[in-house]
């Protein structure tokens, strides 16, 4: 049996009071945490101020079991107060700001199976984007493994999947929806 799927539609411009949540970008904090941040840019190179970036990733030990509690709420007020910092949920969600910028604090993921190249899975939503896009963030330590995983894709293109180290524990990853250095978006089959 294969049912036809429900079609996707754009997230539109007005998700900002519904989807982002307190602590959405604080996937993990502590001495081992890293910051991954960047811009979402359109085909003219202009920032996209109404995009939503979601991250799903393995824990530092490669575990993909995640845990509930990303949107933990206060039982008195009902307000989302965010995770308690003990369990690793693996999920982050941040809207871009007026400059098209987003940032998450997390841990470097471990290999999700022996020998696998670790990465952060990304979903990008935006006004004007009718169907969301998936991409991946690889940290620069894994540049060689990334090229080995995708031998048929040019190094120039693959570089769009590599975060750059700005300084210790801080990485930059811009998402270019279109144009020069357009980010590779992936289609899982």
């Amino acid at each position: 049996m294969s049912l036809p799927p429900t079609p996707a539609q754009t997230v539109g411009p007005f998700f900002g009071y519904a989807l982002p949540f307190t602590g959405g970008g604080d996937i993990a904090e502590g001495p081992e945490s890293i910051t991954v941040h960047g811009l979402v840019l359109d085909g003219a190179g202009d920032p996209v101020p109404d995009a939503l970036v979601e991250i799903w990733q393995a824990d530092r030990d490669g575990s993909l079991t995640g845990a509930p509690g990303s949107l933990r709420h206060d039982q008195v007020t009902g307000e989302v107060i965010g995770r308690h910092g003990l369990d690793f949920t693996g999920f982050g969600r941040v809207p871009t700001d007026a400059d098209g910028h987003w940032a998450v604090r997390t841990v470097a993921p471990g290999p999700h199976r022996p020998g696998a190249t670790p990465y952060l899975a990304v979903a990008v939503f935006a006004r004007g984007l009718l169907h969301h896009l998936h991409t991946r963030i690889y940290l620069p330590d894994h540049a060689d493994a990334l090229r080995a995983d995708f031998p048929d894709t040019g190094a120039d293109r693959l570089a769009t999947l590599l975060a750059t180290r700005e300084r210790d524990r801080r990485y930059r990853f811009d998402i270019r929806l279109q144009g020069d250095r357009e980010t590779i978006f992936v289609d899982l089959r």
């Binding site: 049996m1 539609q9 009071y17 845990a67 509930p68 933990r72 999920f91 929806l177």
Partner: protein, 252 residues
């Protein structure tokens, strides 16, 4: 009221662009083409390179985030509660099942919705449509699906609203939905529409789904058995998530 710039296309020009996009669309597409000229904001926001196909039964994306009781308050599924008074408009119940393409239910996953109020205005600073805000309506809610994949919300029927895509552009009434499956590949954001809306044919967002049968899957059905006497009208909308899932997670 703000007058759209004079360069904005007319509805007739958009209608012609919709006909042209229908003509060049691939047969039976399930999802919108990200490059859809009648929705003008798509022009600079779609990739021109083909997507990179990946076949990997152990990809990270074949698992996904999980949510639980701590993520949802019992009041979150009723958008008419939590503020001082009753919101304006027609109270409705929206319910349905979330399943994957094999028809298996997606249990205990997060469903989020947001919408305009009965007058067609969002509680968002950038929504400058001169319709009244409703101090008694939050406009967003969330719930977990049950073991059978079912979700349910109580809300009010949203109004149609104008937007700036072209002159006299109006969105048909809709509720935005955000859904998680058992895998991140099944992540879905979409919109639910109400049956019989006369604005359907004019709307580039809905028409970006070029196949009529696929468009029909975005439209809820009125269900009289779901209506509650002296209280609310019932709509049923079932959702089929796309995307592969790992056989490793099938029994989770």
């Amino acid at each position: 009221m703000t007058t759209p710039p004079t360069t904005a296309p007319t509805q007739a020009e958009i209608d012609a662009a919709i006909v042209e996009a229908d003509r060049t669309a691939p047969p039976d597409p399930h999802h919108p083409n990200r490059d859809y000229p009648p929705y003008r904001s798509s022009a600079l926001r779609h990739p021109r390179q083909p997507l990179l196909p990946i076949v990997d039964p152990e990809a990270v994306e074949l698992a996904g985030p999980v949510f639980g009781a701590t993520d949802v308050s019992s009041l979150d599924s009723d958008l008419t509660l939590g503020l001082a008074g009753e919101p304006a408009g027609q109270r409705i119940t929206v319910t349905g099942r979330v399943v994957d393409r094999s028809g298996r239910p997606v249990p205990r996953q997060l469903v989020e919705i947001w919408q305009a109020n009965a007058a067609g205005r969002y509680a968002h600073d950038l929504d400058q449509h001169p319709a009244p805000l409703d101090p008694n309506f939050t406009g967003f809610g969330r719930c977990l699906t049950d073991d059978d994949g079912s979700y349910a919300f109580t809300t009010i029927r949203p109004g149609a609203y104008p937007w700036r895509n072209h002159v006299n552009a109006w969105r048909p009434a809709h509720i935005h939905f955000s859904l998680f499956g058992t895998a991140f590949t099944q992540r879905m954001v979409t919109q639910m529409y109400f049956p019989g809306d006369p604005l359907f044919r004019y709307d580039p967002v809905l028409r970006s789904v070029t196949d009529q049968a696929a468009r029909d899957r975005l439209v809820a059905r009125y269900d009289h058995d779901l209506s509650v006497a002296e209280w609310s009208l019932g709509f049923r909308w079932d959702i089929v998530l796309d995307g592969p899932i790992s056989t490793l997670f099938e029994d989770r």
